[in-house]
Assembly symmetry: C2
Homo-oligomer: 272 residues x 2
């Protein structure tokens, strides 16, 4: 089905599949894209990964994840930056549309200081990524993760971090789960025009069953996914829509069953 | 100790105490205020409650809670509004500084619609509360509660809801737990000048141990409580600071022990 060509399977949704298995599964189901995790890439190596993705005839919507600019002292910061440069090289090899940046929490209680360093670190990484042809995608995370994952918590804030850089080099990744609550969402998505490097979907379950792995299958929660998809489209984004669902119930399904469910829910709740 | 006069004990922090016990406990510990919950008020009745609070020589910093403007149809909306009017009458009887409004989530997926009704409902309730001399305090809640407690999730949004009304009649209640993550917090707190009806403290634990009852004792988490208290002070707020801590570990302590701990942590992490 043609509408599925825009769908991307984020590997975290079906962790039972290796990268080649996931690429093959996507191709058979008619998906056009895959979101690749670095640890699953490392399992098979760049050469085998690139080959399996090419053989599947799909593209890489994103490489997960760079960032984690949360070290408080310079030695650890340099070590993290080395890791980020390797992530850029992997993204270049995979021709990923973006390297997703999860920016990291504050190391202590100094949120403003942490946010200032994140801006510096993005600029430093961009100087390495741009010549490699790799776009950095800043992913604002839900404020529930402010203390343990990302001091960048709103789309407005992510856009302000991207603003000093050329559009093609630093943009934002919008994930429905992370931004749906934002009272200024409509204006912020419109303001993201030209900066949207990726769009991720899953659903917000009520109440949230788990801090990290409680994300819902599309349609099982309260997010107006169709409305948000329209906003993103109206902001000029026509790239892949990536299903990223951390959920043990989905993980317990056989890979093909899980992907079939993702496709049906995507068509029903995101596209229709 | 004089510095404790500004501290208020929110009853939810020590649920083992009845309202008269809590009022007495506050007085003995040197606190100047108490935050009263409606269900605990109902247990003893207005007359006994008023007497115990007067005998303790303390004031009521807030009555918890009104709001819950989350019904989707008019019959339920009228019933909720009746309940809110009773809450206003109780706040008037207690001479509470504010009636805290938890505005409720969206009934379905229409967040914008829910937010529009919240604005209408606040205006309606204000028409009843103002002649009673009761100030309404809109409490923005952490976005993690957007689906099950409050569609009002930022201080900016709460201030916009209050803006059409006179300062003394509709304001905001700032809770450190709900707002600490906000990248625009400093500007928003400054913009709240004249509208701050209350300031609540507890801490954000990492990772959050529980959706509803995982709030931390001051000093056990990552919030810069001293910095935030300074912001609130600089915005001209000189009213009570209320310790509201939903946490089973605190609840397991004997009342006096829990209050002693609250006082020590307040002096160490909020005031000093």
């Amino acid at each position: 089905m043609d509408e599925l060509r825009r769908l991307s399977l984020n590997q975290a949704t079906i962790p039972s599949w290796s990268l080649p298995e996931a690429a093959d599964g996507c191709a058979k189901a008619g998906l056009g894209w895959i979101g690749v995790w670095r640890d699953r890439l490392a399992e098979v190596g760049i050469a085998a990964a690139t080959r399996s993705i090419r053989d599947a005839g799909i593209g890489v919507s994103s490489l997960l994840r760079g960032g984690f600019f949360d070290a408080s002292e310079s030695t650890a910061r340099r070590r993290h930056m080395d890791g980020n440069r390797r992530a850029v090289e992997e993204a270049a090899a995979l021709q990923a549309k973006t390297l997703v940046l999860v920016c990291g929490p504050a190391a202590g209680r100094d949120l403003e200081g942490a946010r200032a360093y994140i801006a510096e670190a993005i600029a430093e990484l961009r100087d390495f990524a741009a010549p490699c042809g790799v776009a950095l995608g800043i992913e604002p995370m839900h404020p529930v993760y402010c203390a343990d994952r990302s001091a960048v918590v709103t789309l407005r804030q992510a856009l302000a971090l991207a603003a000093p850089h050329p559009q093609a080099e630093v943009g934002v990744v919008i994930d429905a789960y992370h931004v749906w609550w934002d009272p200024d969402l409509r204006a912020e998505v419109a303001a993201a025009r030209g900066r949207i490097q990726g769009y991720h979907v899953c659903d917000w379950l009520v109440p949230p069953p788990d801090h990290l792995n409680g994300r819902g299958m599309m349609g099982d929660g309260v997010i107006d996914l169709r409305g948000l998809r329209r906003m993103v489209d109206e902001a000029g984004y026509d790239g892949p829509i990536e299903a990223e669902i951390f959920n043990p119930t989905v993980w317990a399904l056989a890979g093909n069953e899980a992907l079939d469910l993702v496709c049906r829910r995507y068509l029903e709740h995101v596209v229709a």
